[in-house]
């Protein structure tokens, strides 16, 4: 070939590898089936379940969820890559999400992003060697009036200056939310009937079952 061409035909999933989706994860995904007209429609909740359980959705997990939902793995890849929320590689304990949209950009967002990259020594959507931090970029963090913004996990830092970045990242409490989580947060529910602590369902599934 005259140019450098990426070979996409090389398999990334080993056919004989042990499954990464545990029975618990599968069971939880299957519990969503009755709520949707097709198995394909369960893809988004399934991806949330997997990312909550594994931290990220790798190639093997994509292939397995595709088999479970009876869709082509390319459809899973398509959906995952659309949403920046989903991680295809292991994610650090703390994810620094920097806004790259116009307000933050005008107020120096690009310099902040560069400062974060320099400080952690990694690029966008990468994780530090010690697994502590990952960097993500988002289109908007809904803090345009206080740009540049960045998130550390779910904690918003506003009016960040590039010079503040080292101190901000050195602060152990930089991801503290400060506020209690809302009751509306759909946290996992442990099945009382089981003693192994396996996640049985989510609160809204329980709610739906109760109302029936």
């Amino acid at each position: 070939m005259a140019w450098k061409t990426i070979d996409r035909n090389e398999p990334v999933v080993d056919a004989g590898a042990t499954p990464v989706l545990t029975e618990a994860i599968r069971g939880k995904i299957e519990s969503f089936f009755p709520r949707y007209p097709t198995k394909r429609a369960v893809l988004l909740p399934a991806l949330h379940v997997i990312q909550d359980a594994l931290g990220f959705i790798g190639w093997q997990a994509m292939k397995e969820v595709a088999d479970l939902l009876e869709i082509h793995p390319s459809a899973v890849f398509d959906t995952i890559s659309f949403y920046t929320h989903f991680w295809t590689k292991p994610r650090g304990e703390k994810v620094v999400t920097v806004c790259r949209s116009i307000s933050c950009e005008l107020l120096g967002g690009r310099e902040v992003l560069e400062a974060v990259k320099d400080h952690l020594g990694i690029g966008e959507h990468e994780t530090t060697g010690d697994g502590k931090y990952s960097i993500a970029v988002e289109e908007c963090l809904a803090g345009c009036d206080h740009g540049p913004c960045l998130l550390v996990n779910e904690r918003m830092h506003k009016c960040v200056k590039a010079a503040d970045v080292p101190a901000l990242l050195a602060d152990a409490g930089n991801a503290d939310h400060g506020l209690p989580r809302s009751d509306l947060f759909d946290g996992p529910v442990v099945d009382d009937d089981r003693d192994d602590g396996v996640i049985a369902s989510t609160s809204d599934v329980v709610e739906m079952q109760d109302s029936n």
Binding site: M1, A2, W3, K4, T5, I6, D7, R8, N9, E10, P11, V12, V13, W59, M62, K63, I71, H72, P73, S74, A75, V76, F77, D78, S81, F82
Partner: protein, 540 residues
């Protein structure tokens, strides 16, 4: 029929079709990328936007609506008034083209699509000569996505036709869109390549040079290609195709729109199945046995020799001992000429229809659908003209039989003079037939490759490939479709039709149309033939 007004001209069009389709059919060259009549409508490229008259919300007076509408997504309605020649429409086309060219590498000099590229054509028509983009271009990678196909995503305009094709027509879903917005690109799941029997069509539906056929890659600039309208001989579906050739060599095959038969598609089996045409092992010269010697007779004297030797056989063994095996690889015209010749010499001669290769099962697409809902079928009958030769045999009547019957009869020693026609790309002669025909007095073999029969033959005649001939094939459904000659016959050979024309007692040059006219006098079926409609530029 709905009547709509486009640019102050009233046109009639089919009901319910998109305005874009109506405009294209009526001769407007409306730019578009994402619209393809064979795929679902996504209206994502925004290039085909038009102005439309709508009633004013208060006064109900008809006037031009302030916004533009995608003509691909707006169905025609009787009395509709639209326009493409307004400033707003042109401005949109210019703006869209600027956007499509933002990250384009402009590598036309090394791009296979150059010369038949919609990006080039529209850019020439609506684009600017200079780019206002001063930032770094977003360069997407070039990817190998399958055994036959490359994806140069730097050239891609994200029309998603290929993705929709894989979903809706082939039903194999290998392709997907990864990432989002300006970073979006077409991709596959790594390790699950684009590899299905219909995949070649994604290269055809790609309006730019993003999807490339490895088979044709860097082979020829398309403006050096000359085309012949043909019919694929790969199976009994009878897809209308275009044979693109240069320097008398086939370069590639492309499907032609043929409603009700292959629509816009063709399968890879047909698309890449022409390589045997340029095989050096082909029989290209006639070969005549004189005593123990084989010699190459002059074409001019051949007619007389064949006629004389056949007459001798008829005199010696009687007309019933003569048989002809018409191959389903022949055109109807050739079969008719040969049958006519044989029946004139020997009125009781047997007319047999030849070997019909059957491979596997019928394959329907989208995969998993049943035969009634299929958008495309690859048939198990791997020859183009099974029905055609049957029609000819039926027309001549008398003693006729199928291939199995012929093999049995030949085994019983029913024939002494036999003309066998092959023309298959692969070995086809059953052992039993070779053994029984080796014993007879006179065997004429008209075939493309040497076989067990050509060694035993008194006369071997070259059968030409379908791209070197013209005539017509009758497909599985009984549709008679003509095909044109695209390249010349190999040195030394002569078109089958030409020498059969002479043998059957006609003078001058053979042409499919000429023989069809003669056939139509005897056979009603040949009065009307089905030709795929001609398509204007930029229509698919």
């Amino acid at each position: 029929m709905a009547k709509i007004t486009i640019d102050n001209q009233e046109i009639e069009c089919r009901d319910g079709i998109p305005v874009l389709q109506a405009a294209l059919e009526a001769g407007w060259d409306v730019p578009h990328y994402c619209y393809h009549p064979g795929l679902s409508v996504v209206a994502s490229c925004r290039l085909c936007l038009m102005e439309m008259q709508l009633p004013h919300p208060k006064t109900r007076e008809m006037g031009w609506a302030p916004k533009l509408f995608p003509s691909c997504q707006t169905p025609v309605k009787d009395g509709m008034v639209v326009r493409f020649d307004s400033g707003a429409v042109e401005q949109n086309q210019k703006a869209c083209m600027e956007y499509f060219l933002l990250n384009h590498p402009l590598d036309c000099p090394v791009c296979d699509q150059a010369g038949e590229c919609h990006l080039q054509d529209y850019s020439y028509k609506f684009g600017e000569s200079e780019s206002r983009m001063h930032d770094q271009k977003q360069v997407n990678p070039k990817k190998d996505i399958g055994p036959q196909t490359l994806l140069y995503s730097d050239r891609c305009v994200m029309c998603t036709r290929c993705v929709r094709f894989a979903e809706e027509v082939s039903g194999t879903e290998e392709l997907c869109i990864v990432n989002r917005g300006g970073r979006a690109e077409i991709d596959i799941f790594p390790g699950i390549p684009l590899d299905n029997p219909m995949q070649g069509n994604v290269v055809d539906v790609c309006p730019v040079g993003a999807l490339l056929d490895k088979d044709f890659l860097f082979k020829k600039r398309v403006w050096f290609l000359e085309s012949g309208d043909s019919v694929c001989p790969g199976c009994s579906t009878g897809c209308a195709i275009r044979v693109d050739q240069s320097d008398n060599r086939v370069q590639r095959l492309k499907p032609r729109y043929n409603p009700g038969v292959n629509e816009w598609w063709m399968c890879d089996e047909g698309r890449f199945g022409w390589k045997y045409v340029h095989d050096v092992e082909r029989v290209t010269r006639p070969r005549l046995r004189r005593g123990a010697e084989m010699e190459t007779p002059a074409w001019e004297s051949l007619g007389e020799i064949v006629r004389y030797r056949f007459e001798q056989q008829v005199d010696r063994h009687g007309a019933a001992k003569v048989a002809v095996l018409l191959s389903p690889m022949m055109a109807c015209e050739e079969a008719w000429l040969l049958a006519k010749f044989v029946r004139e010499l020997a009125p009781d001669a047997t007319i047999a229809t030849g070997f019909v290769p059957m491979v596997g099962e019928e394959r329907c697409f989208p995969v998993g659908c049943n035969a009634d809902d299929a958008k495309f079928v690859i048939r198990r009958e791997k020859c183009p003209n099974g029905r055609g030769v049957e029609l000819v045999a039926e027309h001549f009547g008398g003693s006729t039989c199928d291939f199995d019957g012929f093999v049995t009869k030949a085994g019983e020693g029913a024939f002494e003079a036999v003309w066998v026609v092959g023309g298959y790309s692969e070995e086809w002669v059953p052992k039993a037939l070779a053994t029984s025909l080796a014993k007879i007095e006179m065997l004429v073999v008209q075939d493309m490759f040497e076989s067990a029969l050509t060694g035993e033959a008194e006369l071997v005649l070259p059968a030409c490939a379908w791209v070197e001939r013209d005539g017509s094939f009758v497909n599985h459904a009984g549709l008679i479709q003509p095909f044109e000659r695209a390249i010349n016959v190999p040195d030394g050979a002569r078109r089958d039709g030409q020498y059969l024309f002479g043998l059957a007692g006609f003078e001058g040059l053979y042409s499919g149309a000429r023989v069809r006219a003669l056939m139509a006098e005897e056979m009603d079926a040949f009065r009307e033939i089905a030709e795929a409609p001609r398509q204007p530029a930029h229509q698919h």
